[in-house]
Symmetry: C2
Subunit: 119 residues, 2 copies
Amino acid sequence: MGRKVIDNPNVCSLVHAMNVIGNKWKPILIYLLANGSLRFGKLLMFTPTISKKVLTEQLRELEEDGIIIRKKYAEIPPRVEYSLSKKGKALLPILKSLSQWTQDSYNEIEFEACRIVTL
Amino acid sequence: MGRKVIDNPNVCSLVHAMNVIGNKWKPILIYLLANGSLRFGKLLMFTPTISKKVLTEQLRELEEDGIIIRKKYAEIPPRVEYSLSKKGKALLPILKSLSQWTQDSYNEIEFEACRIVTL
DNA sequence: AATAGTGGTTACAAAATGGTAACTAATGGG
DNA sequence: CCCATTAGTTACCATTTTGTAACCACTATT
C-alpha cells in the first residue's frame, strides 16, 4: 500500500506553470515587457537589484519556455530586444488577476514588506 | 544617476502574490483543499514526496498569510483539519486559469517532465 | 508493559537559487 | 593606441529552500 500520487492533469499543469513563472524575477520581467519590447540594458535598469548574470539566466529560461522572444541585431555595440511571445501575452491577464487578488485581499500594512523590497 | 526602481503597485502586488503561492508545494496544497477540508495525514498522502517537516512549514505559512484555516480538535489521537479561507478560495479561479494556460500553450511532450515529477 | 495512531518537532545535510566582481568581444571615435 | 558602449560570461560565494531520519506527546487497545 504505497503512497498515493497526483495524476490530476490540472494540478500537473499548475505545477508546470509555476515552474515557468513562479520565481523571484520572472513575473516582474513579463510585466515589464507587457507594453512592448525592451533592451537588455533597460530590463536591467527597471528591475532593481537584479544582476546581469541572473537577468541573463532568467531571460534565457523564459525564451526556452517560449514566453519571450529574443531578437539580436547585428550591430556594434550589440543590441538585443526582448518581447513577449503569444504564450507570454496570454499570461498577462492572469498575472493581472493575481496582482488584483493581492490588492483585494491584503491591506497596505500587510504587504508593506513588499513595497520595501521593490523600492 | 542611480538605478531606476519599481514603484508600480501592480508589480508590487504581483510580487506579493508570488511570495504567497509561488513555490514548489503551495499551489498544489491549495488545489488539494479546493473541494473541502483535509487532515494533515491526507495532505501528506496526496502530496507525493513532500516530507512532514516541509508540509508543516508550508501549511504554517499559508495559515499566516490567511490562505488556509487550521482547525485543531481536542481528541486523542490528534485531529487537525485544514481548509481554504475566503482569500484562499478567491485564488482558485486564478490557479485554474494558470493550469488552463499550460494546457492551451504546451503540448503533452513539452510538459512530460512535469508528469514524471508527479507520478 | 508494549504498540499503534496522529500530528507534529529537531538536528542535520543537500540542493537549488541568487549574488558579486572581474573579465570579454567587437567596433567607432579621439 | 586607448577608451566607451552593450550584452553578455566566468569563477566563486552566500543564502534560501527542500529533504532525511529520528524523536516526542498523548491515549486506547492488546
